[in-house]
């Protein structure tokens, strides 16, 4: 007897939950009757779900239904009354014809002068306001990604999205679609593919120039990673492959605006990556917000906009590894106090 196919197991599951059509029900029953493994799975599932059948749905209390109907009636009457008032007001409104002010040359000159002065005064403050707005939006997007991560973890028994990797494999090859898991962004792509996070949330609003690449849901399912680097302008924690590593009790950075070191990655994956740390790469903030700072998401979902790269009591810089000056995209943190967000 050959083992059951996944499709047949799914049919048995649907049958036990009560989601099968008449035809599928007949197929499931025939399968259970003719196959020992199917009968066993059916028995296990039935036993697991049996307690749910003891739950008797509680009927809606009559007074709640009546209160709801009353509120609906009131809302409908209020909305009807408001509509009538608006119509009546519109009909009664007198139309005043005013002389346009620009006919008066003096007024026009005054208005132009005021406009120019106001423009000068407010230009700098509006730039500042725009920056602050983008920072706010960026934090909000990272918050959305965290919610998606939390939902993913709830679905997968508390585990972060993971792909099989081997120690020493390059984690910088964003967009490579081959079978090997060569990019740290593949873990995040699982969130997009599973519908947990909208792909647009991975593009920081503070990154310029904006390049929008649209993908249909069926295209998304075909890819193994973000197809283009432009679609992800955040860096994610590189996890240490050593299983014995203990997690520090202090909060660590999980994701941030694009790491300064990996702004320019080679398009040709056959070429090796070699980044030598210099003064700029060691100190500059992320390019995403014109180097004013970077949004950083922590383990507990908090997102802060940090004006420098050194975090917490340990003063760890999450854009670099301790004691490492040259990067070829295969490095991992060696201790629990060291944190790397990449690529």
């Amino acid at each position: 007897m050959s083992p059951l196919k996944d499709q047949q197991k799914q049919l048995l599951f649907d049958y036990c939950i009560g989601l099968t059509s008449e035809e599928q029900t007949a197929d499931a029953e025939a399968l259970i009757a003719s196959n020992e493994e199917a009968a066993e799975i059916h028995s296990k599932l039935k036993a697991a779900l049996a307690p749910l059948d003891t739950v008797v749905p509680e009927p809606c209390p009559d007074d709640l239904a009546e209160r709801t109907i009353l509120r609906l009636n009131n809302t409908a009457r209020t909305s009807q009354l408001r509509l009538q008032q608006l119509l009546a007001g519109e009909q009664a409104r007198s139309v005043a014809i005013k002389t346009p002010f620009w006919r008066n040359i003096g007024k026009m000159a005054t208005a132009a002068a005021v406009f120019l002065i106001a423009l000068g005064v407010f230009q700098s403050s509006s730039n500042f306001a725009r920056q602050r707005y983008r920072q706010y939006q960026c934090r909000s997007q990272l918050g959305g990604i965290y919610r998606g991560l939390s939902n993913y973890m709830a679905d997968y028994d508390g585990k972060l999205p993971a792909v099989a990797t081997t120690a020493g494999a390059p984690w910088w090859k964003v967009g490579r679609q081959g079978p090997e898991n060569y990019s740290n962004t593949r873990r995040l792509w699982l969130l997009v593919k599973g519908g947990y996070v909208d792909i647009a949330l991975f593009d920081c609003p503070g990154r310029r120039p904006k390049i929008t690449i649209r993908l249909t849901p069926s295209q998304i399912q075909q890819f193994n990673d973000f197809p283009y680097r432009e679609q992800i302008s955040y860096s994610f924690r590189i996890c240490c492959p050593k299983p014995a590593q203990r997690v520090s009790p202090s909060l660590k950075a999980l994701m941030s605006d694009l790491n300064t070191l990996f702004e320019k990655l080679p398009r040709d994956y056959s070429r090796p990556l070699r980044i030598k740390l210099n003064k700029d790469l060691s100190t500059l903030n992320s390019i995403n917000h014109d180097r004013h700072g970077q949004s950083i998401m922590f383990d507990d979902g908090r997102v802060d906009f940090c004006k420098n790269r050194c975090l917490g009591a340990t003063e760890d810089d999450p854009f670099t590894l301790q004691n490492t000056d040259t990067y070829n995209g295969t490095e991992y943190p060696s201790s629990e106090t060291d944190n790397l967000l990449a690529p």
Partner: protein, 202 residues
């Protein structure tokens, strides 16, 4: 008593509802009150939240009446609104609940076989050790202790029999995710129930 053929369809009812017909309000509420109330009761498990969300759902149907496509069935739309309202209500109540995800390990996803392996066909079904009337209350507690998204999908699938396609629409997630989430929900329920019944036995 009216026969089914005399009853207005959902689309007819909603058209009258949209015009402010008070009889249509009553008919619509009565038609869906029990299934919606049962869903909210299981999902929220707090009477004050259940009642508020129940009323807010019907009010939202009225205020969004213009956007509803009458060629589509009303029930999934109603449950979409109810599920969103219920989640908002829970979020308002549980602002302090934040999990630290950095402390979790990386691992592969839970397959259908993993779910099956977590189930056991005990000779004595655990629920038999409890009195029948206690069982329902204990099951309700196990469901309400499950994570929000697992609880939600279990209630929609098992108690309300929505199809995978309808659940995908209600929850705004792909069908594949609906399936894997439902597998996880069943596996989680079985595990928690076994633990709950086991502690009762001891």
């Amino acid at each position: 008593m009216k026969s089914d053929s005399e009853k207005p369809t959902d689309a007819e009812l909603l058209a009258r509802f949209a015009e402010g017909d008070e009889a249509a309000f009553r008919e619509l509420v009565n038609r869906y009150k029990n299934s919606l109330y049962a869903f909210l009761k299981q999902f929220l498990n707090h009477q004050d939240l259940v009642e508020d969300t129940f009323q807010e759902t019907f009010l939202q149907v009225f205020t969004s009446r213009a956007s509803f496509d009458t060629s589509r069935p009303l029930r999934p739309w109603l449950f979409t609104i109810a599920a969103n309202k219920a989640k908002d209500a829970l979020r308002k109540r549980q602002r302090t609940a934040a999990t630290t995800i950095g402390t979790m390990a990386d691992a592969a996803e839970m397959s259908f076989d993993d779910v099956l392996n977590s189930l056991t066909a005990d000779e004595t079904m655990p629920y038999e050790v409890l009195q029948k009337n206690e069982t329902a209350a204990r099951v309700g507690q196990v469901i309400s202790d499950m994570p929000e998204n697992l609880r939600e999908i279990l209630i929609l699938a098992y108690f309300n029999k929505f199809s995978y396609k309808q659940m995908a629409h209600i929850l705004s997630i792909p069908i594949g995710t609906v399936k894997s989430r439902l597998h996880t929900a069943v596996g989680r329920f079985a595990k928690e129930w076994k633990a709950a019944a086991g502690s009762e036995k001891n």
